[in-house]
Amino acid sequence: MISKAELVTQLLALLPRDCVLFETEDLSPYECDGLSAYRQLPWVTVLPNTVEQVQAVMRLCHQYQLPVVARGAGTGLSGGALPHPNGVLLSLAKLKSILSIDPLGRTARVQPGVRNLAISQAVAAHGLYYAPDPSSQIACTIGGNVAENSGGVHCLKYGLTIHNILQVKLVTVTGELLIIGSEAFDSAGYDLLALVTGSEGMLGIIVEVTVRLLPVPEQAQVVLAAFSDVEKAAAAVGNIIAAGIIPAGLEMMDKLAINAAEDYAHAGYPRDAEAILLCELDGMHADVIDQIARVQIILSQAGATEVRLAADEQSRALLWKGRKSAFPAVGRLSPDYYCMDGTIPRRHLPLVLRRIAELSQQYGLAVANVFHAGDGNLHPLILYDANKPGELERVEAFGGKILEFCVEVGGSITGEHGVGMEKINQMCVQFDALELTQFHAIKHAFDPQGLLNPGKAVPTLHRCAEFGAMHVHHGKAPFPELERF
């Protein structure tokens, strides 16, 4: 086992002085990511300037069998970049160049530390943009987006990160540089790009990404509809899709979220509504005009108490501002809030919302619901006060129950935030022992010693047995091979 002093000496031989942080005060900014409830100081933080330096750091860590946790902008919401106490935190923040843009081929080759929004800004002059738009897009970086397979509000029409990238360069646990995918639309052999995307830093370090770019739509329009009950709003979403319309964005908010957003953003939302829908159509001018007219009729027929078309670009931006500020707006209602991220088949929305309301009563904690209604991704925001003893534990238990119910109705414990540290126990609910074992075998293929982001994303079978999640799969009791304690 190498000492910290010896590790620092060796790292300083590989990297410039300002790229190695080891004093507590320098390390503290890295003790957590966007999930600040979980904190841990890393042993050492390194910030390489080049891909070669990343490779050199990986070789050194492999030589001494040291854990490595990769970190982008640190905006992740599941603790995926939570440091290891005796490991190296590898920040990709200094790799932030846009390496090339191909306007005709509609691709850009970028380093992992480039911010999501910066890509769209850099290619805007060519009439192009990068489609996935997580709400943190102003700060989050593309390397982290690939690691989490990030989504956003436009996923139903434009897909997730995996649908919008062609190739990544990956540094392996031994420091080897691999090209995964290709600049063609497919590559020979297994689809390693699909495997690496969303792998939460468990399989390798992403050091370059080739993204696909789309033409900026000729026009975008948004409609707001208010409903006196959530069930009618959910039915309206199904009716829009059944009519053959794929909105660019389709968002739902419940009463508490509506009022919080209205207090904060003054977007003109109807405060007395039980639910509102925001439906955005984009594309060619003629298509948008045609579809927006049909959507307004569908919403009225579904029982909307109000259907309002944003008259101009300014009012469109204002309607979205309310939705996009929903998290900070809800954050003003209480000292802390905890953001959940389950997905469900959309038809079960009324059932799931009823269950959340029951749990809210049971745990004595208020919940505001924000929902990517088009793709079934639910973000319940649980309000709490971390300074009250035991309240965080209550929130975590409540949140866990919501995720388990999402699995019960055929959904998933995470739509876009990732498992990280936060949802590791719920993985035992969504997957059985054989499936988790298969995940560990995949991990082993890339990282036999388990040095990359240890303890995250995929729980050990022992952890699941301790957690006691009873995933009864195909009628069999889970983890029969393990003793109970």
Binding site: L195, P215, T343
Partner: protein, 357 residues
């Protein structure tokens, strides 16, 4: 109609478990329309064609789940009844084509670069790994980032990592109208530039192909959109336009009739044409190019890979040799390790994709 609905997963699981115990290689088959694809199959036939039926289909959720042996045509009819489609427009290559084979080979048609590939629309699957274990990855929701994306890994793995039991797919509404425009007298280079310039505009392009100086461009959308495309874009309106797209997708266009070896060349869309003697048919805005040529495999692959692409020997030539582009050492090592992770005894379609895999 009797076989429209049948679940033989238990029997399939038992056969794989037995083969694992005996280390007997299995050749996974259903409709046999892709028997020509890849290296020569060996092993005992594992017949999935009896595992049929649409398990669930929710038009308002845009999700369909079907057993692997379900005929592609059954799925397409069920979707069409609700005005929906498989947006990756898979090729059939025969009436008995199944959804399992389509996903296992990751086959997509003319719309691929404009809406996505088979892999892109795959949401989840049940599968049997090489130890005879029944596993479920992904699901029936659009967004799901729990665990590694092992479901999408199955797309294009040609059954070498698992036997697909059922697949859940995202589906999309069929566009109401379409229009194909023909522009003549264009070189391959001109066509590549034009296809990509148009794809960079807010236009409802849904297919593109170039052959013998003719560029075909298909647009899909609402009536008013198609009218505005017809007004703004040059080209002669092609009657019975679906014929050309079907002919290319099903490899029935006269181009494919030659006895010369047929290569599928995947390229960055705007890459120049490789310097290989032969005849070319370009589609997918340049991302998929078909080549009929007697040139040596090594020369073709060297030319293509220097331009960022890869070449697959599709028809003709030595099926005991390399059909797919050889992999670099680091990537090959990952392939072997993943094969070991899913199929430690090496019984699932061994050698079908690469020798020793």
């Amino acid at each position: 109609m009797a076989l429209n609905e049948q679940d033989i997963s238990a029997a399939l699981q038992q056969q794989v478990a037995l083969a694992y115990a005996d280390k007997t290689p299995l050749n996974i088959c259903a409709g046999n329309t892709k028997a020509f694809y890849g290296r020569t199959a060996t092993g005992n036939v594992l017949d999935v064609s009896g595992h049929v039926g649409i398990v669930s289909y929710e038009p308002t959720e845009l999700v369909l789940t079907a057993r692997a042996g379900t005929p592609l045509s059954d799925i397409e009819s069920a979707l069409a009844a609700h005005g929906q489609m498989l947006a990756f427009e898979p090729p059939h290559w025969g009436a008995s084509a199944t959804i399992g084979g389509t996903i296992a080979c990751n086959l997509s048609g003319p719309r691929r670069v404009y809406t996505g590939s088979a892999r892109d629309f795959l949401l989840g699957c049940h599968m049997i790994n090489g130890k005879g274990e029944l596993l479920h990855f992904g699901g029936e929701v659009m967004k799901n980032v729990a665990g590694y994306d092992a479901a999408r890994l199955m797309a294009g793995a040609m059954g070498t990592l698992g036997v697909l039991l059922d697949v859940s797919l995202k589906v999309l509404p069929m566009p109401q109208h379409k229009l194909t425009l023909l522009r003549s007298g264009l070189s391959a280079a001109d066509a590549l530039t034009l296809m990509n310039r148009l794809a960079g505009q807010s236009l409802p392009l849904s297919a593109s192909a170039w052959i013998d100086g003719n560029l075909y461009l298909r647009f899909s959308g609402a009536a008013s959109t198609i009218a505005s495309v017809q007004h703004s874009q040059q080209g002669e309106v092609l009657e019975n336009d679906e014929d050309i797209w079907t002919a290319i997708r099903e490899l029935q266009h006269p181009f494919f009739a030659s006895k010369q070896p047929l290569w599928r060349v995947a390229m960055p869309q705007v890459a120049a044409q490789p310097d290989v003697a032969g005849d070319w048919l370009i589609e997918w805005g340049g991302a998929q190019r078909w080549l009929r040529s007697d040139a040596a495999a090594g020369d073709i692959r060297a030319q293509v890979s220097a331009l960022g692409g890869h070449a697959t020997l599709f028809h003709g030539g030595d099926r005991a040799g390399a059909m797919f582009q050889p992999l670099t050492a680091g990537i090959w090592q990952l392939h072997q390790r993943l094969k070991q992770a899913f199929d430690p005894a090496g019984i699932l379609n061994p050698g079908r994709m690469y020798e020793n895999l």
